[in-house]
Every structure is written in C-alpha cells, then in structure tokens.
Symmetry: C2
Amino acid sequence: MSGPGRPGEEALIARYFAPLAGEGAEGLRDDAASLAPTPGHDLVVTTDAIVAGMHFFPDDPPASIARKALGVNLSDIAAKGADPRGFLLTLALPSDWTEAWLAGFAEGLGEASRALGCPLLGGDTVRTDGPLLIGVTAFGEVPSGGIVRRQTARPGDLICVSGTIGDAALGLALRLDPGAAWATALSDGERAHLADRYLHPRPRTALAGLLRRHATAAMDVSDGLVGDLGKMLGGGTTARVDARRIPHSSAARHAVMVNEGLIETILCGGDDYELIFCIPEADWPAIEAEACVLGVDITMIGQVADGQVAPEFIDLSGNARGFARRAFEHF
Amino acid sequence: MSGPGRPGEEALIARYFAPLAGEGAEGLRDDAASLAPTPGHDLVVTTDAIVAGMHFFPDDPPASIARKALGVNLSDIAAKGADPRGFLLTLALPSDWTEAWLAGFAEGLGEASRALGCPLLGGDTVRTDGPLLIGVTAFGEVPSGGIVRRQTARPGDLICVSGTIGDAALGLALRLDPGAAWATALSDGERAHLADRYLHPRPRTALAGLLRRHATAAMDVSDGLVGDLGKMLGGGTTARVDARRIPHSSAARHAVMVNEGLIETILCGGDDYELIFCIPEADWPAIEAEACVLGVDITMIGQVADGQVAPEFIDLSGNARGFARRAFEHF
C-alpha cells in the first residue's frame, strides 16, 4: 500500500492518527484499547460504515467525509441517551489515496473528535480495489440500565423531533440535479444551507441527557422521517402525526412552495440525523424548557396510539395521506 | 440492494443475524447495544477488517471467511489477556451477493461465535461496488488495569510463542502456486494441514488467563514472527532468538527440507495468529505446566536484551542471520 513518497501503515498511523488518540489507546501503538465505563454506567456501542458513491460523493472534501463518518455514529449514541466516550476507525483506502487527502481527512476527524468530546481509541487501515469505505465503532455511556430503546413507546406518548426535517434530502437532490427548476429558484444562501446539511450531519449529542431523563423511546432519523417513525413503533402501537407541525427550514419551505412534490423527498429522504423520540405527555413543558436552555429546537409532531396500522400523517388540508416511498435505503 | 428474490437489509438481519444476537443487543432491532464489563473489569476493544483479494480469496467458503473475520479479532483480544465478550459486524456486500452465500456466512459466523463464547451485539450492512469487506469490532474483558500491553517487555524476560509458526504463510504460498516443486513433494495430509491453517485462524483464547497472570508483554503474530517481534520490542530493548527453537509443524519442516529458502516465508509471512509473549524467566516452569493443562503448546524461543538494534536470529549453523523481508504488509 505504501508507494513512492507514501508512508506505510505504521508511519501513517503515527503521523496522522496518533495525535487523536485518547486515554486507553496507548498512542495507537497496540492492537487494542482498554475502556471502562464510569462506575455505575453501561457502555453503549454502535457501528456504521459509509461508502464512497453510496453515502457520500468521492469528491467531497476529506474533512467533511471524516466528520460524516463520526457524526452518523454519534447520532446513534445520542439517540440512545448516551454521552460520547470514544471511537474506533476502519479505513479501507483505494489505491489512489494521497497524503494530501489523508492529511485533510485526519484534520477533519480531529476537529470533530475534539468538538464532540470523543477521542480515537484504535483502528485498522486496509487496502481495497473498490471505493473508499470508512467504518466507525462509537462508544457512549449511560447510567446502568439507562439506554433509551427504540420500540418502547406507549400509547398516549407525544412524538417529538429535534431541529428541522428534510434539509439533507434536499441537499442531496440539489447535488444530483443542481439545474432543477426548484433549485435555481432558491437563493444562494438557501442552496448553501441545504448542501451543508447533507454534507455535515450534526449529531444531537446535547440532547442525550434530556432523552435519558424523559424519553420512553428514541432513534435518529437517518433513513427518512416516515420510514424511521414506522421502525420506532411496533408491538401494538401506531401514531397520528400532524404533518403541518413537522419543522422545516426556511430553505425547505421555499423549495416546497416552488415544487410541492418535494414534500415526499423531505419526509421520506435520508440523512437528517435529527432525533425522533417519545415522551410522557405530562413531561412536555419541562422538556420544552430544557431544550430551550440547551439551544436545540424540539417540536411536538404527533402522538402514539394503540393499533397495528402504519402511522397516519395528516396533511395541510387535514386529510390522512400515504407515501409512495416508505423509507430511504442506503443499503 | 434488495433485488429479485433477495431480502432488504431489515429482513436480512432478522433472518440471518438476529439468531446470533447476545444479551444487550435487543435482538438487533435497535441501532446500538449496551455492554457493561463485569464489576472490577475493563473492556478491551479492537477492530480489524478483512477484504476479498487482500486477506482472503473471494472464492473461499463463506463460513471460512466468517470464521477468519471473527478469529483475527479474537486473536488480538486473547493477546491482551482478555476473555471474549461480544462483537459488532460490518458487512460491505458487493452487488452480486446471493442468499446462499449469506446463509453460509451466517452459519459459519454463528458456529465460531458459539465456540468462542462471543455473541453478536450489532452491526451494519452496506453495499459496495468494490470487493467484499468484513469489519469486526471485538470486545473482551480483563480485571481492571490488567490489559497486557505490547511494548512493555523487560531485559531478561523470556520470549515464548504458542503453537507452530509459518504454516499459514506456506498455506498461502500453496494456494498461490499449487504446482511448486516443494508443494508437490508434500503428502496430501501435509498440504491439507497448511491450507487449513491459512483458511482458519485459531485464536488462542485459551491462553488469555495465562497471559494475564504472567506476561510482561504480548501480541499476536499476524504479520510474520520477525516483523511482529520487532514491533513488540522498542524503547531500549532488543532480543536474541534461537531460530532452531522456533516451533514448526511436521508439514512445515518437510517443506523446508525440500526447499530451504522457505524458511524466509515461514518466519516473515503473515497469518499465523499465534501469540508471542514475554515472561519473567522465573515463571517458565509454572507457565509450561499451565499451558500443558490448557492443551496448548508453548515454546521458549529467546530472551529480551538491552539495546536499540533489531532482534538477532541465530540460525541452524549458530550464526546470526538477517531477513530480506522484515514484515508482511496486508496493507
């Protein structure tokens, strides 16, 4: 893998990744790290890989790719009510990698790692004849037994989401067809907002404590609100969602004004990395106040109900509506 | 990714992988697992990926590929003195995957997981336009602070290895050139032994407790004895190794009798997945007895010494010898 002017695996690790190593990682000079949760806590573990041409564009800036690889994993950690503790990195590099690319990748990874309080604990670098693949295993921690599960909502619970829904899906659509009529109708600032939301997921780590204290169930919205809500319910519950309440950015609202068919992209497209969670109805005032203090917008969009049917979405005219495409499949 | 007659990601997980799920994995119906070490213990975490065409042959039996992916990770866990606790799986599938392949893979993974006492805790399945990649993150546990490190040997310590060295490298050479003169000189049984050692790493999990109690430093031999010994030493230590003591199988000895140049392949080739470790000289009799009870052969091959130079290998004629190829680079 090392070639003319390129370092071998050990030199590459020492130069670019050892500076990101956290406690227990032994400066990445060992094949394994040690990790103990704070006494009275459990570790929460998750793994997600992103592949060039599937989850990002090969010509995305390397720092952005690094940020996405870590961000999508810490989004899962936050959704389980856990605080970040560290991560492992698997880097499958195609033969045309360059040191400049790797330097940019490591810089972006280091920035995200520091910002999210999540040090590098180890990893593996392999060569592939195929597209670049970045795998991350992320660790978080919660008080013992406190992990917030996905399918544990109860009838009557309110359904909330963080941030705004659909920006990233529009950002992807914009990237695939920048000349679309709706895209050219947006302002430069609106286009930049949507593009950025696709490129840079913002894991809602600030909400982990709120979820631990209040949520009866939670997950991150990675494959579209409609499909992910369906995955969160199950075992005898359904939901009634007021689509008029679902929060959208002004850029997304403008896009739908221009082309109302985009509401399907917004509600069923992937890559939001916002949180969707259920709470006891009585907790809403306290949660709204807490989220305000944390500086994260949360919005109540519906309510869990008894039943085995698919969640019902009430549209702008007050009627229940269906969706042609239930969930975005990265797979 | 789902195609005619093939399940989507969720169905695939439910059918093939949910049966392997351990405690804390929530039947793989959540995006994360919870994991707590036994009180008074640390978790040990490691990650290694294997790629078709690099670490295994694309036409290897899927059950063997699964066994290798888990085995190479549990070899690292054992080398750190840790007992297996569980693992996460990343599967990057090329577009031509079949259900028959996946069924064989899951069956082999389940067998290895049960045999090694290491349940599946979660994972991710992605599509790739490139070669099949299998990433594993493995978890083990050791009494708090008890992880056995790599570069902590002291001058005077004895250097030991488990099992036999070089079989897997010969198995790979055999696979690449089955008509080589040395290969055709071996018996069918000898060829089968070498081929099997390349295909099926046997992580030395049985030795984890012995390493915890006695080893001053340890790692697994994955990139060749010569190179890995060099990685284990460092910070002012070197070693003198008696190459005549290095244990080889009868098949490997036969191969070297036919072609003495193969000793370089044996000592510098990869994929042994045996353990190399250092112990206080006084502990040797106790360790030999313990290993005998555990049914694993261990052999003392040399001694750690003061110095910054490369480890010295004393050959059959009593002279120090060098190696053209220092370490096998999978990368």
